[in-house]
Subunit: 341 residues, 2 copies
C-alpha cells in the first residue's frame, strides 16, 4: 500500500494549491468492482469514511446491479460491464482496473462530463516480463527442447543466441515497452524504440525512431518486440512485406494487439525458415482457431493472452494502489493520476 500515505509525495505536485476543493462526502456514492481482499476492502472503507461505498466484487462485473444502486452511484471503481455503466447516469468519475479505457470512452457510455482514469503503470511489469521470458526461451530453444522432452528424446539442437549484445527493436514505448526495454538493457542488450512522438524519451530506450523508419530498421535487428495499442494505424503493422525484411535468425515477440502481425504470413515465413522464431501472447483472431497453422509451427510459441490481467499478483496490487490513491485524491479535490479524459 505504498501510495496510501503518498498524498504529500510525488503524485500530488501537479495540484496547484488553490485548485484543491474538498468533495462533499455525503454526495459521493461509489460502486467498487475491484477484486479486493478483505483487508483491502477495509482500507478502501477507511480512506472513504463517510462515503457510501458498495463492494460488488469483480463477480459484479457481469451481474445486473439494482436500479437503486445505479441511480445514485457517482463513482465507479473497476471495469464494470459497459451495459451496467450505461445505466449509471450520475457518474462523475470512473477508475478502470485496466490500462486501456477504450470501451468507456465511446459516446453514450458515460456522461460527457465524467472523468476517466486508468490503471496504466500497473501492467508494465507483468507484460514486459512475459515478453522477456518468451524471448529468452526462444533464444535458448526451450520450446524445441520441450517438444523433444514430450517424446523422451535427449538430443542436442545446436547453437543458441543471447540477449547480451543483441539489437532489440521495441515498437510502442509506453509503460510496457519501456519496462521491457529496461529489462533488456539490464542484461546487456541494445534497445531501439519506435513511437509516434520521437521527441518523447522513454526509460530504457537507447535510440528512438518514428514509425516511418520501421522498414529501415527491421533488417538490422535481432528481436522485434511489439507492444502497440489497438488503433487503425497499428493493424498489420508487420504485414507480409515488412515480415520479409526481418532476418532469418530474428525473433518476433507480440504482446500488444494480435492483428499487429499478419499471422497467416508469419506462419508461412516461420515454416520457410526465413524468420527465426515468434513468441505470441496475442493472435489474430483470438482465441486462435483450432485449425490455424501457427499452432503446429515449432518455431512459434503461443500463450493465450495471459501476459497481462492479474496473472502476476503484483499487478493486481499495483492497480488497486492506483485506484486507492485516486480515491484519496478525488475526496481531497486533488488532480487525479492517469487521467484519460
Amino acid at each position: 500500500m505504498k501510495n496510501l500515505h503518498g498524498l504529500s509525495g510525488g503524485w500530488s505536485h501537479g495540484a496547484s494549491a488553490g485548485s484543491s476543493r474538498l468533495v462533499n462526502r455525503h454526495e459521493v456514492c461509489i460502486i467498487n468492482a475491484l477484486p479486493l481482499t478483505e483487508q483491502e476492502e477495509l482500507t478502501f472503507k477507511e480512506v472513504a469514511s463517510g462515503v457510501q461505498q458498495y463492494f460488488v466484487g469483480d463477480e459484479g462485473l457481469d451481474k445486473d446491479l439494482s436500479s437503486e444502486l445505479t441511480d445514485k452511484a457517482t463513482v465507479i471503481l473497476g471495469n464494470l460491464q459497459v451495459s451496467q455503466v450505461k445505466r449509471c447516469k450520475r457518474i462523475a468519475w470512473m477508475q478502470t482496473a485496466s490500462a486501456g479505457v477504450n470501451n468507456y470512452e465511446v459516446d453514450g457510455v458515460l456522461p460527457e462530463t465524467a472523468m476517466i482514469t486508468s490503471a496504466s503503470g500497473a501492467y508494465g511489469q507483468e507484460v514486459s516480463e512475459h515478453m522477456f521470458a518468451m524471448m529468452w526461451a526462444l533464444m535458448k530453444r526451450l520450446p524445441n527442447y520441450r517438444d523433444q522432452q514430450r517424446e523422451n528424446i535427449w538430443q542436442d539442437r545446436g547453437p543458441v543466441a543471447t540477449v547480451r549484445g543483441a539489437k532489440v527493436l521495441i515498437v510502442g514505448t509506453g509503460d510496457i515497452g519501456s519496462h521491457f526495454a529496461q529489462l533488456v538493457k539490464a542484461v546487456g542488450g541494445n534497445t531501439i524504440g519506435i513511437r509516434r512522438d520521437v521527441r518523447k524519451a522513454a526509460p530504457g530506450i537507447d535510440t528512438m525512431f518514428g514509425f516511418k523508419d520501421l522498414d529501415k530498421l527491421l533488417p538490422q535487428v535481432d528481436v522485434v518486440a511489439l507492444v502497440v495499442p489497438s488503433s487503425p494505424d497499428t493493424y498489420h503493422i508487420l504485414n507480409r512485406k515488412r515480415l520479409s525484411l526481418i532476418r532469418s535468425h530474428a525473433i518476433i515477440i507480440n504482446a500488444g494487439r494480435g492483428d499487429a502481425v499478419d499471422c497467416q504470413a508469419l506462419a508461412e515465413y516461420l515454416a520457410a525458415g526465413s524468420i527465426g522464431a515468434a513468441g505470441l501472447d496475442v493472435t489474430e483472431p483470438e482465441p486462435l482457431p483450432k485449425d490455424h497453422q501457427l499452432w503446429n509451427e515449432p518455431q512459434c510459441l503461443i500463450t493465450p493472452h495471459i501476459a497481462g490481467g492479474y496473472h502476476l499478483p503484483q499487478a493486481r496490487t499495483q492497480a488497486i494502489n492506483i485506484a486507492l490513491d485516486n480515491v484519496q485524491r478525488y475526496l481531497s479535490g486533488l488532480p487525479l493520476r492517469n487521467r484519460m479524459r
Copy 2:
C-alpha cells in the same frame, strides 16, 4: 580477440619481472585441437611464429594421431581424447577448451611436471543464461503453455511468478554461479550464495553462507539454483530429505552435475506438487533413460546437457581467446592464466 594484445593489461600482473624467461620456440611443438575458423588458425600461427604447430581440428579429438606427432609434441591445446594424450610423453603444458580438467589430472595421463590450464571463465555467460532462461520460462509457465499448444488449446493456466523481489539461492558461486547471480540481480532478484569458503566474495551475491547452512536456507527461498562441480561432497546434495525442505512454489534449476539432485525423489515431489517446478540441464544418469518418470513430469523442464559447450558462439570465442592469450604467455615465459596444476 580482445586478449590478443592484452599482455601488458590485467592478466599479466601476476608475473614478477624477474621470472620472465623466453621459451626457445624451436623446442616447442603444439598439437592444436581447438575448433578454429580459418582466420583464427592464422592468428594462432602468427602468435606462435617459428613454432611447429599442427592443427588437427576438433575432429582430431577422436582420431588417432601419428606417432611422429605424439612423439614430438610438447603442448596440447584443446580436449584431445585421454588415450591420445597418454601417448604424448613430452608434454610440458596442456590447455583445455573446457572449464573442467578432471580427466587430464588423473595419474599417468600427462607427465607429472606438465602444467594444466583450463578455459574457466569462457562458459559463465552461456550456462548462466541457460539457467536464467529456464527459471523465467518456469515462472511464466511457458512449458505448460507449450504442452497446451501441442494440443491446440487456448486456456489460461493461472497465476505466474517473477524474479523481481524473489529470493534466489545459488549453490556453488564460481564463474557460472556468479554470472547467474549478476543476471538475477540485474532484474531485481535477491541472491544468497553457498560456497565452501564463506569469506571469499563473489560478484552478484548479496549474502554468502557455508554448506552447513543449506538446511536452514532451503525453506526460505523461491529458487534453488545448483552449479556445483563434480565431487564426492556434492553427490545428492539435494537428497530426499533436503528436497522436502523446499517450498511448494519454489523452482529448482540444475546446470552443474546431474547427481547433485536425487532425480527419483525429485520426480515424486514434483508429481505430488510439493515442489513448484524444476529446470534440469543435467540429470542422473545421462542421458536420462527413456522410461524415467521425469520425462513425463509436466513441472519438469529437461534440456540434454547443452547449457555449456559451444552452444553460444561467444563461449567458443572466449575459450579460444583464453588459449591464445596463454600461448603468448607461454612463449614469453609469463605465468599462465587459469592454471590448475
